[in-house]
C-alpha cells in the first residue's frame, strides 16, 4: 500500500517536472528582448515573467511571440465575422491583419479572439489581446483611466440607428413611445437608447442580450418593436434575418459613433506603432498607393510617398518597427479604400456608400497627421 502511494507521488512529481519543462520555453522568448537582469537572480520561473512584461512594450512581446492577438467581433458580417471554417473576415479584421503585417511582416500571423461587448475592455486591460478592433465607439469614459483604453484613429464614422417592422407604422423614433427595444449589453447603443428616449420624454422597455446574434434573433421573433445598434451593424444584421424585406431602418441617427481600434493605456510605444499603421493605411489612399501599384510607387519621387514606404526618413525605426512596415501592410492588406471596398463596398451585399468615411479631400472626415 505504502509503496503504491510512493509510486503515485513519484509519478506526479515526474509529470510536474515534465510539465514545467515544457511550459518554460513559452514565457522565455517573451522575456528575452526585455532587459535580462532578473533571469539570473530569480529562481522561480513564473514570477519574473510578469514584471518583464510590464517593463517592456507589447511591440517586443508581439515580435517575440511572432503572432498578434487581436480582439474582434465574430457576429457582424462586413466588420468582424467568422465563417463555417473558422476563418475571420471583415473590415475590422483587415485592420488586425494590417497591424500584423506592419509589426511582424506577415498579415496572416494573427490569432483572433472573440471579444464580447461586455468583455472587450477587460481583455485589453488584462493583456489577453494585444489590440482591439471590434466596432468599438471612442468615448471619454473608455479613453479615461477609469476604463483604461488608448484609442487609435477612427476607422469608421458611424451613427446609431433603429430597425423596425414596416408593418408597425413607425416612421421615426418619436412614434416609439412605449415600445420594447432589443439592444446588446455593454455598448454605447444601450446608453444612447436611454438618452434619446429620455430626451424626447418617451417611455421604452429595453430587452438586453449578451451578444449581437441573440439580440437580433429576439427582435426577429417579435420580442421587440425595435432593434438598435450602429447603422452599419443594422445593415450588416439585415443580411442575417429571416425576411429582410419586412424590416426597415429609420432615418433617425441617434448618436455619433466613431468606431476605432483600442490598445492598453499604459503602453505608449505600442499605441504609437498601431496608431501609425492605421494612419498609414489612410495616408496611402490619399497618396494613391495601393496593393496593386506599390512596386512602381517604391520608385516614386514624391517625398510623402517615400517616407510612407520607408524609402527615406527612417519612419519605421522611430516607432520600433521595420522601415518598410507600411510596404508590408499595403502589399498584404491594401490601403484604407481597398479595405473598405473589399468588405463594405459596391461588390459586397452591404454596398455602404463611403459617406463621411471618404477622405477629407473628397468631402469626408478621414484626415491623417503628416508622415514626417
Amino acid at each position: 500500500m505504502n509503496k503504491r502511494l510512493t509510486m503515485v507521488a513519484i509519478s506526479l512529481l515526474i509529470i510536474a517536472v515534465v510539465y514545467s519543462a515544457c511550459a518554460a520555453p513559452a514565457p522565455a522568448p517573451a522575456a528575452a528582448p526585455a532587459p535580462a537582469e532578473s533571469v539570473a537572480t530569480e529562481p522561480a520561473a513564473a514570477e519574473p515573467a510578469a514584471p518583464a512584461e510590464q517593463a517592456g512594450s507589447l511591440i517586443d512581446t508581439v515580435k517575440a511571440r511572432g503572432k498578434l492577438i487581436c480582439g474582434v467581433n465574430n457576429q457582424v458580417p462586413g466588420f468582424g465575422n467568422v465563417d463555417a471554417n473558422g476563418n475571420y473576415s471583415g473590415f475590422d479584421v483587415d485592420f488586425c491583419r494590417a497591424v500584423a503585417a506592419g509589426v511582424l511582416g506577415d498579415a496572416s500571423a494573427v490569432e483572433y479572439r472573440y471579444a464580447s461587448g461586455n468583455d472587450r475592455f477587460t481583455l485589453v486591460k488584462s493583456g489577453e489581446v494585444d489590440v482591439l478592433f471590434r466596432n468599438t465607439t471612442w468615448t471619454l469614459t473608455r479613453d479615461s483611466a477609469e476604463v483604461g483604453m488608448e484609442f487609435m484613429p477612427v476607422t469608421f464614422y458611424d451613427g446609431q440607428g433603429m430597425m423596425v417592422r414596416k408593418s408597425s407604422g413607425i416612421t421615426s423614433i418619436a412614434d416609439m413611445d412605449g415600445a420594447t427595444v432589443c439592444v446588446q449589453s455593454g455598448t454605447t447603443t444601450e446608453l444612447n437608447l436611454a438618452d434619446v428616449f429620455r430626451a424626447q420624454e418617451l417611455e421604452f422597455t429595453p430587452v438586453v442580450f449578451e451578444d449581437n446574434d441573440k439580440t437580433l434573433a429576439a427582435y426577429d421573433e417579435g420580442r421587440c418593436d425595435g432593434f438598435t445598434t450602429d447603422k452599419s451593424g443594422l445593415v450588416s444584421s439585415m443580411t442575417k434575418m429571416a425576411d429582410p424585406s419586412e424590416h426597415m431602418i429609420l432615418e433617425d441617427t441617434m448618436s455619433k459613433e466613431p468606431l476605432a481600434g483600442a490598445v492598453f493605456q499604459g503602453d505608449p510605444a505600442w499605441a504609437d506603432a498601431v496608431r501609425w499603421i492605421v494612419n498609414g493605411l489612410i495616408e496611402a489612399e490619399e497618396s494613391g498607393v495601393t496593393s496593386q501599384n506599390i512596386n512602381e510607387m517604391l520608385g516614386s519621387e514624391n517625398p510623402t510617398i517615400k517616407r510612407l514606404l520607408g524609402v527615406e526618413g527612417e519612419m519605421g525605426a522611430k516607432l520600433g518597427l521595420a522601415n518598410d512596415f507600411m510596404v508590408q501592410a499595403l502589399t498584404q492588406v491594401g490601403n484604407y479604400g481597398e479595405i473598405y471596398d473589399r468588405n463594405l463596398g459596391p461588390d459586397t451585399p452591404f454596398n455602404l456608400p463611403r459617406g463621411v468615411n471618404a477622405l477629407w479631400s473628397q468631402g469626408g472626415l478621414l484626415y491623417t497627421p503628416p508622415f514626417r
Binding site: V147, P206, V208, E210, A218, E221, F264
Partner: protein, 477 residues
C-alpha cells in the same frame, strides 16, 4: 521491565507521522499563500500600469454615478439613477426568481419524489421519466429550450392569444387581469394586516385545542375563516368611507400622458401625486367644448397615459374608486398596460430553474423516504393508519432528517444557477453587474461585489436550513 527490541525507540523526525502531518500542512499553506500573493501582485501591477493617474487604487465611487441605461423589469428604475441602485434592482430580480424557484422546486420535487415511490404504476413511471429527462440534460440547454423553443413560439403581440377573461398570452409575455388596491384601498391594508394577525392567533388556539383533545389538524381552516371575516368587515368599512379630493382643472404634460394633481395643503395649489396615493383612479378627460375626450384610469404610480388622443384635452375629473379593482390588461400603443405581466425572460428562467432543480429534489425525497425502515410502514398500517396519514405523520418526519442536508445544496444551486439569466437577457444581479463593469471599468470591484452578494445569499440559506435541520433532527437523550 522489558527492553524495547528496537535499537532506537524514537524514530527520526522525518518518519514521525505527527511531524509529517504538520510539515505537509505547512507546505500546502505556503503554496496557497504564494499562489494568492502571485495573483494579487499580478493584479496590482497591471492595475498600476493601466491607471497611471489613480495609481491603481480600487475606488467604489462608481456606485454613486449615473447609470444611464435602462432595466427591463424589477423595481422601477430610471436611467438617471445610480449604478448602485441599478445593482440593487439586479439583486431584487435575483431574489425574485430565486425565492419563487425554490418554492416551486420544493413543491414539484416533493410531489415527484413521493410519486416515485407510489403504488400507482403510471404515476411512478411518469415521475421517473420526468426525473431522468430533466436531470440528465444541461440546465443552459433547457433554459434556451424554454425561451427559444416554447415562449418565442407563442403568438405575436398583434394576434395575442386570449385566455378567456383572464388575460393574454404572447411571445412578449403573459398579461393577466389582477385585483389591485386603488387610492382608497390603501386604508384596507391595515385591516388586511389585522386579519392576518387574527388568523394566526385563531389557528394557533385551534391547533392547541385539537392537540389537547388528541386529534390531528393544524387549525388552518379556522384561522383562514377568522381572518377572512376581519378582512371582509374591513373592506365594507373602507368602501363606505372612501372619498377622494377632486380637481377640476388640469393641464396635460404631453398631450397623451400625465400625473394626477391634488390640493394637498388645502391652499389651492395643485401638486403632483406620484407617491402611489392615487393608484387606479378612474379619470375622464374633457375637451374645450366640455365634450368627453377619453376615459381611463391611473396606473399603480399615479400616472396615466392615453395613446393617440384625438384632441387636446383641457379639463380632467376623477371619481372615487372602490378599494379594490380588477385591473385588466389593455392594448395601448405597442404593449399591454394594466394587470400584471410575466415577461418571457422571467418565465423561461423560472421554468428552467424549478423544473431542473425539482428533478434533483425528487430524487432526494425518494432517497429520504426509502431510508425510513420498512417496519415503520408496517407498524403504521398495523395501527390502521391510511397511506397518506402514514406518509404525513410517520415517514416524512423521519425522512426529513435525511432530506434536509442535500436539499440545502439544491437550494444553493438554484440561486447560483439563476446567474444563467444572462443567456436570456433577464436583468439579474450578474447580468446588471456585467453592464456596470463594462461601463465603469471596475472589473475587480464588480466581481468582488457579485461574489460577496452570492456568498451572502448562500450563507443565509445555509444558516436557515441548518437551523431547520437541527429542529427536525433526532434529539438524543
Amino acid at each position: 521491565m522489558a527492553r524495547s527490541i528496537f535499537p532506537n525507540p524514537k524514530p527520526p523526525f522525518y518518519r514521525d507521522t505527527r511531524t509529517i502531518a504538520v510539515l505537509v500542512q505547512l507546505v500546502f499553506l505556503v503554496g496557497v499563500l504564494l499562489a494568492g500573493w502571485f495573483l494579487y501582485n499580478n493584479m496590482t501591477t497591471r492595475l498600476a500600469a493601466a491607471n497611471t493617474t489613480t495609481g491603481g487604487a480600487l475606488s467604489w465611487n462608481f456606485l454613486s454615478q449615473t447609470a444611464g441605461f435602462g432595466i427591463s423589469e424589477g423595481p422601477a428604475f430610471q436611467p438617471e439613477e445610480s449604478y448602485g441602485r441599478a445593482y440593487w434592482v439586479g439583486v431584487v430580480n435575483t431574489l425574485r426568481v430565486g425565492l419563487t424557484g425554490v418554492l416551486l422546486a420544493t413543491v414539484v420535487g416533493l410531489l415527484a419524489g413521493v410519486a416515485r415511490v407510489s403504488n400507482n404504476w403510471l404515476l411512478r413511471q411518469l415521475a421517473g421519466v420526468y426525473v431522468d429527462l430533466f436531470r440528465s440534460t444541461p440546465l443552459l440547454v433547457q433554459l434556451l429550450f424554454w425561451y427559444v423553443g416554447v415562449i418565442a413560439a407563442l403568438p405575436n403581440i398583434q394576434d395575442a392569444a386570449e385566455l378567456g377573461n383572464l388575460g393574454y398570452l404572447t411571445n412578449r409575455g403573459m398579461y393577466l387581469s389582477w385585483p389591485q388596491l386603488t387610492a382608497t384601498g390603501l386604508a384596507w391594508n391595515g385591516w388586511l394586516l389585522g386579519g392576518g394577525g387574527v388568523a394566526v392567533v385563531v389557528a394557533w388556539l385551534q391547533r392547541r385545542r385539537l392537540r389537547r383533545s388528541g386529534r390531528l389538524g393544524s387549525g388552518l381552516l379556522a384561522g383562514v375563516v377568522a381572518g377572512g371575516i376581519v378582512a371582509a368587515a374591513g373592506y365594507a368599512v373602507v368602501a363606505a368611507n372612501a372619498t377622494l379630493p377632486t380637481a377640476t382643472t388640469y393641464e396635460l404634460r404631453r398631450g397623451d400622458r400625465g400625473t394626477l394633481f391634488e390640493d394637498r395643503n388645502g391652499n389651492g395649489t395643485l401638486e403632483p401625486a406620484i407617491d402611489q396615493t392615487l393608484a387606479h383612479v378612474p379619470i375622464t378627460l374633457y375637451g374645450a367644448q366640455d365634450e368627453v375626450v377619453a376615459h381611463g384610469s391611473t396606473e399603480q404610480d399615479g400616472t396615466f397615459r392615453f395613446a393617440d388622443l384625438p384632441a387636446e384635452a383641457v379639463r380632467l375629473t376623477w371619481s372615487t374608486p372602490p378599494p379594490l379593482v380588477l385591473s385588466e390588461p389593455q392594448r395601448q400603443g405597442f404593449n399591454f398596460r394594466g394587470g400584471v405581466s410575466l415577461t418571457p425572460e422571467f418565465a423561461a428562467l423560472l421554468l428552467a430553474l424549478f423544473v431542473y432543480t425539482g428533478a434533483f429534489i425528487a430524487e432526494i425525497v425518494r432517497a429520504g423516504i426509502s431510508a425510513v425502515g420498512k417496519g415503520q410502514w408496517e407498524a403504521s398500517r398495523a395501527l390502521g393508519l391510511s397511506t397518506g396519514a402514514t406518509l404525513q405523520m410517520i415517514v416524512l418526519p423521519q425522512a426529513l432528517r435525511v432530506i434536509i442536508p442535500p436539499l440545502t445544496s439544491q437550494y444553493l444551486n438554484l440561486v447560483k444557477n439563476s446567474s444563467l439569466a444572462i443567456a436570456v437577457g433577464y436583468p439579474d444581479l450578474f447580468n446588471v453587474s456585467r453592464t456596470i463593469v463594462n461601463q465603469t471599468g471596475a472589473e475587480v470591484q464588480g466581481i468582488v461585489l457579485v461574489m460577496a452578494t452570492y456568498l451572502t445569499f448562500s450563507l443565509v440559506t445555509s444558516l436557515f436550513m441548518n437551523w431547520y435541520n437541527r429542529r427536525v433532527a433526532l434529539v438524543e437523550r
